[in-house]
Point group: D2
């Protein structure tokens, strides 16, 4: 039930699998209101016409940058779950935001367990000689590795660098092409695509005599909604670019 004081939300990709869940979840929240639904072929001007304050973007890597440029230039905050953000893309968004009061949250994953798992990976990183990331998703996923996995690898990489750790031990001299995965910030990442799976990730740490594994399983896309709503409610209070939902949490 919408109210005069509710936050006015626009949903990009509103007919998509995630977008339609977002619409349902926003409409079910008494302090939020869906005032615009935009899909492929629709004009972004509808957002302005409807007086949208915050957009939620679960679209695809081909259009998300155009969406964001439009929102930033029109003073609309954005909560983004679309994947495919490279360092260059993040730098572009940050640049667009310079000097504005607009907030953009780009979160590789809105599941609270994924956020905890990334934060724990960051805390554990300095205690271990080795760390690698495995992510397992349904076979309809377009990109590999997942944004969450790449983000996790970057966090580990930064924590290792801050602690003065060097390269991980690895004596491999004979590698079949791709066997050791891809490398993100010096951290190996491995992507599996398995029918029946939803979204799963393991971060594996090891040192002499012991290993630590952080595993997160999203079994249903409704698991993302509490995090999306937290983002919608908080983004206006965080101008500039925030990467990762943990920036809005108390960890």
């Amino acid at each position: 039930m919408s109210q005069g004081s509710a936050i006015r939300v626009g949903v990009l990709g509103a007919q998509g699998r995630m977008g339609s869940e977002v619409c349902r979840a926003v409409e079910a929240a008494s302090d939020l209101e869906v005032v615009a639904k935009v899909d492929a072929g629709d004009s972004l001007e509808a957002l302005v016409d409807a007086g949208v304050q915050v957009v939620v973007d679960f679209t695809n890597p081909d259009v998300v940058m155009d969406n964001l440029r439009f929102c930033v230039s029109h003073g609309i905050h954005a909560v983004v779950g679309t994947s495919g953000f490279s360092e260059e893309r993040l730098a572009s968004v940050a640049e667009w935001l310079t000097g504005t009061s607009v907030g953009v949250l780009i979160a590789p994953n809105f599941a609270i367990g994924a956020v905890l798992s990334m934060r724990f990976a960051e805390l554990a990183a300095k205690y271990y000689d080795s760390a690698e990331v495995i992510e397992l998703h349904h076979p309809r996923k377009l990109d590999a590795p997942s944004g969450t996995a790449a983000h996790t690898a970057r966090l580990i990489s930064e924590a290792r660098a801050a602690a003065g750790l060097g390269a991980m031990p690895d004596a491999t001299t004979s590698e079949a092409d791709g066997a050791r995965g891809t490398v993100v910030g010096g951290v190996r990442v491995h992507s599996l695509r398995i029918a029946g799976m939803i979204a799963h990730q393991e971060v594996v740490f090891g040192t002499e005599g012991e290993t630590l594994t952080l595993r997160h399983d999203s079994l249903d896309r409704t698991s993302f909604m509490p995090g999306v709503l937290l983002g919608v409610r908080s983004v206006a209070a965080h101008p500039g670019l925030s990467v990762g939902l943990d920036k809005y949490m108390d960890l």
Copy 2:
């Protein structure tokens, strides 16, 4: 190589599997010195005669309380890896220490991964409806559950209470005796004894649509030594009873 200024260490249970590793590790550290080794049948007076400053106790639940009473009354600090500490036992030790400057560290687990896993369990607890602990050990272990598992369960229990969470959901009406494990502070704990295993633990959290699993594997008992040495070096600076190596860490 011992030195005049080295900490004088006594090892209780010196011929045991863990005790002999402790002797090796202490002797390999230039700032520590083994000055007494005590086993079943030996008198604890040897500790006093040798001028021991810190004892390391990996003995068994039947004798550890006598060992600790002796140490506290003789002003000797203690680092304890022996299991079997109930709430009553912990209360007794705390009482003995009142008004003294002696430090006692009782750590259910000295592996850094176990410590991290317990800390992460504590941080994650408030975000999940359900939490249970599984521990898997070699079949020569005498007690079930492990001290680490019981300690983990207590940490989760306290974190849930602090966050105002009630009982976990559980509709079980027909339970074969023991199927749902034992209960520590409202948290279910399950103990497996499997040939070929060393010491392993999983903490499983769940809420609608997602789960988080923290798994720690100790594959070799040398994994405990860095933690034991950290305890020996730090115990004198922490008078009173400390439970868990994380009390000496920066997490």
Copy 3:
């Protein structure tokens, strides 16, 4: 689309979570036809009136025995997914079937992966000193352990006995009540109830220096339907009591 030659199916518990899926799956199969739906309060006579050839029973332990007695005495085959079958109950059903041509399939689990996992557990059992079962389900489940877990334990127990293996090694002398799980045929079984989970099982084997773990995850109850339909199509060709879908498979 029903046809004259389609198998006439009655669904017991038709409005339940599993029952309604069964109705959908049967109706979607061109060689099967739902001719009766029975729920709590309805008379079983409806099955006879509708000329049911095979019933599918996903009800509950309180009524399933009455359902089966009725079906057997009226010459109706039964495919049963309801849990709670003890050795006594199985013996009763087998006795009722003596001298009839009625087939009853009682399957603790219809997921193909569960069936494979049980069969592999049976094959592996003789090579390992230790074996235990962990099952994890949603917290709305009424019984612990699950029928699948109990059945798996019995298969392991029988395979060990056939190979002349004795009791598993276990030095536990101090056990908190329930910590070591329940015992089914000498095999320990541990039941977890975790929000967000569906139906999961791990069978853990170990011998000196190595372990083997068979894990099955049902992430969606649609995973049971191919197995249920296989049961409905095959039960008439298997008079007497069959326990486990693998009896109808080629493993």
Copy 4:
């Protein structure tokens, strides 16, 4: 204790980690006798001089082919745990053996759990849309993927082909180099190198609504010895090339 009738064994790579364990295990078996130990720099003629009947080769990919050619041409059976066997290498060995009565066993893994895991993977393959292999080893390992993982992938590939299954579903259009692993017979294989680990493998299967995971952990290289001794005792009775210890087992 050697005897006149004991099998005369030569160990190649006798001073290596695995080789020295083999020496110990062979010497501990009353029906086997170590009569020659050969390491880098030693002449293979020592095998002939000592009257070796069976060699055990845990050397490295650079020398193993020369070792095998020598053995075959001198009528010496071989049990080989060295990794790095490509299809070409296997074809070469098979060709050398044509017309001889020499037996060669090339086993990617001698742990019974690994053998079971591979056999179960082969049996499960036809029931699943997707299958991938993850292997995790200590970081001193030279090749990736492991021989066991590659062999497992080939078994899955052959079982899928025999059942008429096509390519696995995979919608990936944007892949960071190596993210999706290497491909062996159409099956993706992922190699992790983690300090503290020994030798571990997971085979992950999935179909709509469910997944099956087969995990094997070798925690100690003594786990290979029962399999090696089985190979030594059986190789003479199996002329020609055998790949995989299961060829000598009853599965």
